[in-house]
Each structure stands twice: as C-alpha cells, then as structure tokens.
C-alpha cells in the first residue's frame, strides 16, 4: 500500500500528529486528491498495532485527544524494504485501459472510440501538467515529469494499438469460430 508506506516514511523524519502528517502528505504527494483524515488515522492505528510506530505523547484538549506518533526501528526497516524493493513490472500490464480495449474488441464495441477518448483525456491532462511544471518546485517537477512520462507511454501504446486493432479483432473472431 504506497499511501500508508509513504505516511510511515514521513513519520521517519520526525514524530508527528495525524493532522501534520496529512498536511505533509498533501503538500508533497497528493497531486489532485488530498488524503482523507480517516485514512491517516486508520494507518497510524495499524502502524501502532504492527509495532511500526508508537505514541510518544497525548495532548488532551476540548476535542478528541491528540496523539503524537514516532516511528520504531521495525518501522524504519519496513520503509527501507519498501523503498529499495523494485516494483513488479506486472502492475503495468493490468491497467484499466488495456482491459477496456480488450473488452471492446471481444464484445464488438468500438475499440477505436475507447482509444480516441482516452487519447483526448490524456492530452488534456498532459497540457495541464506542462503548464503546472512551469511554476512547480523541484519536487513538484519530479512528480509531474513522472506522470507525464507515463501519459506519454500510454499515448504511444494507443497510437501503436490503433494500427493493430483490425488484426486483433480478426484474431478474436477466429477464436469464436
């Protein structure tokens, strides 16, 4: 779970309350969708249960108690493993786009329309990102370039697939017979 591991990694820098962690996460990692408070507190509770973090102090106030969490050596080990372990390349072949194009081909829907719609949506996002990149800080540029590179890869696949759809459709029709 990248989000919870990222939260744990943020805790490695210094002990923090849930609110502070959420703010730090949103500033650095939430490009379009801020993290829900519920997810932060659920993650912290799980870290504590698994021994990856512990409560350092509790401040009582008018609202609910505010717990401050500190990462444990076991938690640091978890972060170490997560950061250095290569991601399985398999995740890239399970995208919704590939599945939707395949289903369109199998069901006789227009796969060209699926590709064309996705292409237009990707290009709009690409345009937004290239504009954002002009004013982003170095960390932001890194995140934006990552997303741009993946959009570009998808667009190249879309262009290449467009040329092959007829052959794939014929193949599927042959399988049916």
């Amino acid at each position: 779970m990248p989000t919870s591991h990222t939260l744990l990694a943020l805790l490695e820098r210094e002990p923090a309350h849930g609110y502070t962690l959420k703010r730090q996460y949103d500033e650095r990692f939430a490009q379009t969708r801020p993290l829900a408070f519920g997810q932060v507190y659920a993650s912290l509770a799980r870290f504590e249960k698994q021994g990856w973090a512990c409560v350092t102090d509790v401040v009582a106030g008018e609202g609910p108690e505010r717990k401050r969490y500190r990462i444990t050596p076991e938690g640091v080990e978890v972060v170490d493993t997560w950061v250095f372990e290569p991601q399985s390349p398999g995740v890239f072949s399970t995208s919704s786009l590939f599945a939707r194009v395949s289903v369109a081909l199998m069901s006789g829907r227009s796969a060209q329309t699926v590709l064309a719609n996705q292409r237009a949506t990707h290009l709009v996002r690409m345009r937004e990102l290239t504009a954002l990149r002009k004013t982003a800080d170095p960390g932001g540029v890194l995140a934006i370039s990552y997303e741009l590179a993946h959009l570009d890869a998808d667009l190249r696949w879309i262009a290449e697939s467009g040329e092959r759809l007829d052959k794939v459709r014929d193949g599927i029709a042959g399988e049916k017979r």
């Binding site: 237009a120 709009v124 690409m126 345009r127 290239t130 959009l151």
Partner: protein, 228 residues
Amino acid sequence: MTSKPVLGARNVHLTYGDTVALRGASLELTAGERVALMGPSGSGKSSMLHCLAGIIRPDLGEVTLEGAGLDGLPERVRSARRLQRMGIVFQFGDLVPELTLIENVMLPLQLLGGKKSAARATAMDLLAALDIDRVADKRTGAVSGGQAQRAAVARALVHRPAVVLADEPTGSLDTVSAELVLDAMVSLSSQLGAALLVVTHDNLVAAHLDRHVVMRDGVVTTTAEVLR
C-alpha cells in the same frame, strides 16, 4: 469547420519515384488555429507540410493559400507568396551560419523591401520577447541549439505571416530548450493571429496545440479537437 481556411490541401497525391508519399490527403487550417500533424515515420507528414508550403508541387490535388491556388503557380511566384504570407521552422533551424542571429531574423523583412534600421528594431524587439536579445550579435555557431531555434522562430514570425509551419521544431533539443521554443512559437503565433501547423511525433509537443491530425500511409486518418 465553418471559418474560411487560410491554408488548405485538398485530395493531394505525391509520389517520389516508386514511393507513394501522399494518396489523396486533405487538410485545412483556419486563421489562428494551432494544429499538430502526427503519425508514424513515413506516414506523409513532412510531405504534406512541404506541399502546403508550396515547396513541393503535388502530382494531383489542390493547395490554396488565403483562397487562391498555390500549387499551380510558377516556382518564383510560390516562393514570393511563401515569403510574404508564411513562416517556416525546420528541425535544425536552417539559419544562415555566416550571419548573426539578428541578421537572420531581419532577412525576411529586408527581402520584402523593408529598411535596414526598421528591420533591425523589429527583429530586436522579437529577440527580446524570446529572451535571446543578449546573443543577438552572435553567429549561430556561437549560441546554444535552443537559442538558435528560438531565433528561427523569430525569423518565421518577424514579418507577421498568416501561417506558421514547423517540421519537428524541437526534435533536436533537450526538454527545457524544447519547452522554451514551443512556448515562444505558440504564444507569438497566437499574438499575431497566425495559424500554426506543427509536424511532430512528440505527444508533449502536441499537448500544446488545439487540434490533432493523424496521418497514416499518405492519408489523414483522424482529426480531433483537444478540449481545454
């Protein structure tokens, strides 16, 4: 498309020896619109651009510039029309190496009969707008690829053309320089109300433009607007 095209190719065919480059391709540009012409290598993109520019005369079909036929005119007249109404940017700029950047940018104005002092002032304004005025008096070999290409953009736009045609204008540049060149070309074309056609295989370049035309095997297969 309802507005009158400023530049158009209709049912254009072109053959080089045994190789068929264009097989009835059509494309129209309206005033001020920004179009990406995409497609795999050998799809006919550059041939289409050369026909639209009047550099190559198609075997069949028609090319019109501001409502008047272009392809049927003699080479000398086509060159004159191109000089007056078009700006062209190639992948490697094609600036004259013996001239400084500003002398390159002044060229179209002087060829159109402008006075040297006025041409110099106009060119310098444009170089300043593109943030390369400090290297205005350097020759192309003494500046970076990105600076030379921005000068090529300035030369293409200095005479306020109706159409700007660019063939892989950022293909030889790093990402940062490419972004500067592209921004310059798109914003200056928009300011002048010039139509812009960019031949590119780069999705990041295409993302800056409003309409995408895709060619394959010498014909236009797709044309799509990009919503903003």
